[in-house]
């Protein structure tokens, strides 16, 4: 496609490309081998294997997989409890992405200001992102623990509540906890994107707007947000993809419970594979999960190529 357009435009091919020696080309292929091998082994083969496994019954009771056509898909798509995982996933993904973008932008605006110790603050902001997410999840789980948690201790000592709240044992509390934890971990990354976007802004525009009497809110609404639109699109897509894939934080905090209140798709796949020992069913949900992710991935990749 690119070559045609170059030709159409009457441009010459770059000299270096044409003059690449055969030996160099072979060497280029050689150093591609490790990456290609890793991709084939780690990504392509497992994906194809999971795709094919979704057409088989393969539980702990089956020595070999048994072909059953679309039975697994019918079971998944007619089971209201499994289907509810899509709704739970949507609540988690939308809630987390919106919160992360809001706080990420707010924090970026704050870190964009010139104040004493800004570099230290910016560095400290990255801490939640640097910590392993499972460690963060366990820390939050202990903080929110219904018996020994520091959050309950603070609420009790401040006289706000007179008995412990079981944050992780009711459906709303558990969902809020996983959304907040994931948001806390993701803010630094989103902040970095927004900060990079802000640094590309023409500061004189803001100065001019101020001279014209524009307040902070107007500047954000009329200047900053339109300028950051491409960043919003990319971070939004990236955030939603990452949150759709989220597993470790949710598993460590709630294990998908209480009942199925936080059983998102990743947890559902894990439960089918390692609690119900049904690899066929787990693969089926995994395949449907990929199709759920696909529109976002396509959107993200298109945004990237547009940028190029």
């Amino acid at each position: 496609m690119d070559m045609v357009s170059i030709k159409d435009r009457g441009l010459k091919r770059p000299k270096t490309e044409r003059s690449l020696k055969a030996g160099d080309r072979r060497f280029a292929y050689l150093i591609l081998i490790p990456a290609m091998t890793a991709f084939m082994v780690m990504v392509f083969y497992p994906f194809v294997d999971a795709m094919s496994m979704s057409f088989f019954q393969f539980t702990i009771y089956d020595m070999e997989p048994i072909f059953i056509g679309f039975d697994n898909f019918v079971t998944v798509l007619t089971d209201p409890y499994v289907l509810a995982s899509w709704v739970t996933t949507a609540v988690f993904v939308v809630g987390t992405t919106l919160l992360t973008m809001t706080f990420g932008l707010a924090w970026a605006l704050l870190m964009y200001q010139d104040f004493h110790g800004r570099a230290v603050f910016r560095t400290m902001t990255l801490l939640p992102w640097i910590l392993p997410s499972t460690v963060s999840a366990f820390v939050w789980a202990w903080m929110l623990n219904g018996k020994y948690g520091v959050v309950n201790a603070m609420l009790l000592s401040a006289g706000i509540v007179d008995e412990n709240i079981q944050f992780l044992s009711n459906d709303v509390g558990a969902m809020v906890a996983i959304i907040l934890t994931r948001t806390w971990i993701s803010i630094p990354l989103f902040m970095s994107f927004f900060l990079a976007g802000l640094q590309g802004m023409d500061f004189q525009q803001i100065e001019a707007a101020r001279l014209d009497g524009a307040g902070n809110l107007t500047i954000v609404r009329r200047l900053i947000l339109p300028h950051l639109k491409p960043v919003f699109l990319v971070t939004g897509a990236l955030g939603m993809i990452g949150n759709l894939q989220q597993f470790d934080i949710i598993y460590a905090l709630t294990g998908g419970g209480p009942i199925r209140a936080t059983t998102v798709l990743s947890i559902e796949v894990f439960k089918q594979a390692f609690e119900n020992w049904d690899l066929g069913m787990a693969s089926t949900i995994g395949v449907l999960w990929v199709f759920t992710l696909m529109p976002l991935v396509v959107f993200y990749l298109r945004s990237l190529f547009k940028e190029d």
Binding site: I31, Q166, S169, N170, P258, N276
Partner: protein
């Protein structure tokens, strides 16, 4: 530059090819969850040393144990001997490569070493796939110190008396969870639910293996559990580990546990054997006087894989390292009594069980008297049992969290289980 990259690639390939040989070891690989508890590690290491078999101990948390066994076997990673909860046998017994101990040691030999009713826990489809490491039941234990201070002189016999005693404990210890009901982890929730269902006279399956879960008894059980939560006599977010801590720290007066409850009370009270006097096994209270009380059969098994460590000259042998190791842990009275002294785990072998150390131990005598009629976990032998356990646990939680009423949950348990049976 090219040369350097080529050399690097070559060196990497060599390292990868030779790396596996460094990892090889002659020790047998023993996967268990007991050593995942740091205080248990030296105890088990001491027992293993006595078997004189070189062992590579791998530990896993109890909750991840089934998954780790499954993954190691399916991915053909080293695994020679593994610990198993007895109720997992119907599921994990389907895995390939498990040794039938009748073939290895001989059925007669085993029956001379271990009582038939104890061996039964490791039997599946006529094969002896597991050998009992320790045995017992899941029974109710009471904290006698808390009962005494709450003015409760006798353990409750009926469920009404039990609730009334919980209220007394709550009044004496306002910050306590009088009964540490399991409200976390599907396996634990379904276990406690079954014990109370039996206490109400109900069951999940009838004698013909047909569903009997949608019953008046189930509704009563669910309402009873909800009452405990609503009146703060039990609390959410409690698993066995939390219950053991609460009990030892005098923040829970009752909970269901195995005989190892005494060992944990010693640890968590910080008073060691001095605290034994307050750990009181008792019969599960029943709905009406005269009804049979039930405990749940419980035990830990050891299973052995048909790996190289189980063979001599390519054939399964009772003189192989794996066989010697299992024989030491399950049939050597000295090793079993040592384990009992250190952790309170009741041994399976005849020689150890007949020792005075066990037969005259007041706690064990009380424990055996508390059993009533022990029953097997009704969901353990069902095909795809994890699905059934999840259904029971989710419906119980939906009632105690106020999302469904008991009748609706009982009906949903039945309809969801029927769907699983198709």
């Amino acid at each position: 530059m090219k040369k350097i990259i080529k050399m690097t690639l070559l060196a990497s390939a060599l390292v990868a090819a030779t790396g596996s040989s460094f990892a090889a070891s002659k020790d047998i690989t023993f996967l268990n969850w007991v050593t995942a508890e740091p205080s248990n590690k030296p105890v088990i290491q001491g027992l293993i040393d006595k078997t004189e078999v070189p062992v590579n101990i791998l530990d896993s948390s109890w909750g991840d144990m089934q998954k780790n066994i499954y993954l190691r076997l399916r991915t053909k990673q080293a695994l020679d001997v593994s610990q198993l909860q007895a109720r997992w046998l119907p599921t994990l017994g389907k895995m390939p490569n498990l040794v039938d101990f009748n073939d290895l040691y001989g059925k007669e030999f085993l029956e001379k070493q271990i009582p038939a009713e104890v061996l039964e826990a490791g039997r599946l489809n006529g094969k002896q796939l597991g050998l009992p490491w320790n045995t017992g039941s899941i029974s109710l234990v009471a904290n006698k110190k808390m009962l005494d201070e709450s003015g409760i002189s006798e353990t409750p016999k009926t469920i009404n008396e039990f609730v009334s005693s919980l209220r007394k404990v709550k009044s004496q210890y306002p910050q306590s969870t009088p009964y540490a009901l399991m409200t976390k982890s599907n396996n634990l929730i379904s276990g406690d639910f079954q014990l109370w269902l039996w206490a109400h006279g109900g069951k999940i399956f009838d004698e013909n293996s047909k569903l009997a879960i949608n019953s008046e008894e189930t509704v009563e059980t669910l309402n009873f559990l909800k009452l405990l939560i609503d009146q703060k006599l039990a609390s959410l977010d409690t698993d066995r580990g939390a219950a053991r801590r609460l009990f030892g720290q005098e923040s829970a007066a009752y909970y269901f546990d195995a005989p190892v409850a005494r060992g944990f009370a010693r640890d968590f009270s910080g008073k060691g054997a001095e605290y034994d006097q307050y750990v009181l096994p008792m019969q599960t209270p029943v709905a009406k006087e005269g009804m049979t009380s039930h405990a749940m059969q419980w035990g830990h098994l050891l299973v052995m894989m048909k790996s190289d460590s189980a063979k001599i000259n390519g054939k399964l042998s009772k003189d192989s390292p794996s066989a010697k190791f299992i024989e030491g842990l399950t049939m050597n009275a000295d090793i079993q009594l040592d384990y009992f002294k250190k952790s309170g785990a009741i041994p399976g072998s005849l020689a150890a069980r007949s020792n005075e150390l066990i037969s005259k131990d007041t706690y064990i005598v009380n424990w055996n008297a508390s059993l009533g009629l022990p029953k097997r976990n009704e969901l353990s032998a069902v095909k795809n049992s994890a699905n059934y356990i999840a259904v029971v646990s989710e419906e119980v939680q939906s009632v105690i969290l106020g999302q469904k009423d008991a009748k609706e949950a009982a009906a949903d348990m039945e309809s969801r289980m029927k769907r699983l049976m198709k």
